[in-house]
Subunit: 245 residues, 2 copies
Amino acid sequence: MSISRLLVVDDDDEMRDMMTEYLRKQGFMALGAASLAEIEAAMAAGRIDLILLDVMLGDESGLEICATLRRDQDVPIIMVSALSADHQRMAGYEVGADDYIAKPFNPDLLLARVRAVLARAGRSASLAYRRRTRTFRFNGWRYDAKRNEVLSPDGYQVALSRRETALLQAFLANPHIPLTREEIAAALDVTGEGDHNDEAHGRAIDVLVGRLRSKIEAAPKDPRMLRTERGVGYVFAADVTSEDA
Amino acid sequence: MSISRLLVVDDDDEMRDMMTEYLRKQGFMALGAASLAEIEAAMAAGRIDLILLDVMLGDESGLEICATLRRDQDVPIIMVSALSADHQRMAGYEVGADDYIAKPFNPDLLLARVRAVLARAGRSASLAYRRRTRTFRFNGWRYDAKRNEVLSPDGYQVALSRRETALLQAFLANPHIPLTREEIAAALDVTGEGDHNDEAHGRAIDVLVGRLRSKIEAAPKDPRMLRTERGVGYVFAADVTSEDA
DNA sequence: CGAGCCTGTAACAGGTTGTAACAAGAACGC
DNA sequence: GCGTTCTTGTTACAACCTGTTACAGGCTCG
């Protein structure tokens, strides 16, 4: 899975097109839907990683749709609304939304929310994914998720530690998307709820990235794949292809 | 492809600054003008891709200006007005405006209109969304945007910092066009940083240009590519060719 | 020629990142 | 249990990036 597939649900054509276009240009695969029927059609047609759901759909209530989707399918949902009142927000969470954003929104904020939810969902998704997918290829490298093997372009096998493997998986699931240290930490902490105290991670991520670099970068001092986004985090700058088992 | 250059025409300083700043953060190069004279000066100084024209200029009528500009030059125009009455809108279209938007407007809507008009006009959208990978050549130099590599004519690789790279990109996108420090700052802020205290950039641009000169000019003391336009800003005086990667 | 700008640049400061070294566990064989 | 080895977070320091400042020199105009 190299590109996240998003479904933008809004009955306002202009707003919907704007959002899908924006998200596409940001590297996502964005589909549009204006009604529950279209949502179901889209989900039947292919995998959907995240739904951006307007609460004010014409005939149907976005909140009800959210609750329904949550019950039937395990798809992450971000509620979008022109009403930013707190009770609205609470209502969104109560029906199971993963996040909430008010219109009109800052595009960057939208992106951040989308990435955060995708990253948060990443661990469960990657678990589900591990069952389906055997190998990833990137820049001549091969990562066999089933055997937990990493092969260099030369054919040499490289041993990664558990944490390094998890980091690589996080990057493989989000190529070309800058990940903050918080997002990376979230993707690594499979243990979940426990320590949520955010900034407590210190420089652990940096060191971990450095160790992974030393193993999979030809020139660790001049990294081509695991790039630093100063002030932001890290990006995996490589095209990733995966093969299903 | 180059960055779209927008001209915001409004005699209200506050509104004009707000719009230019917003548009810059969205990846455009936004200039301001308060009168017909300033419009003409701006258009004489460099290419303008789109004019956002307030209909209520103090002494001149925005509608007349619109008609004049339309007749003399073929530049797309979006009319901006505090009056949303339909006849106003019609009046705007009649004199040749490409679109119309009422104040106060939703920023996202403004953005959508701007992009729509630019797309219709067959011009580039925005630097922020420019994702195509390209190789640029200029004066024997080569810049590989995908690999983030800069090669000198001798074949030596030159390491540019992130900010220097962004500066180079801004120049590559606008060869032979004088860029003011504000425009450069706007182009740089798009690529990251944030924290843009309006005009408070001090001498940062000058120093940055100096650093880039020291890396890509054979004789930094006598720059041939990164030329200073005294009282204006800087020009990239080199022919640039780009190839799809 | 001088005054007043404008520009180039060295030096500095504050922030961010890379990484070696250390320490605390965890895993494992004996 | 005990020692060895591997893993991983923490720390400290160095290197790098970048904006600010100060100063020197150049330019323009009278």
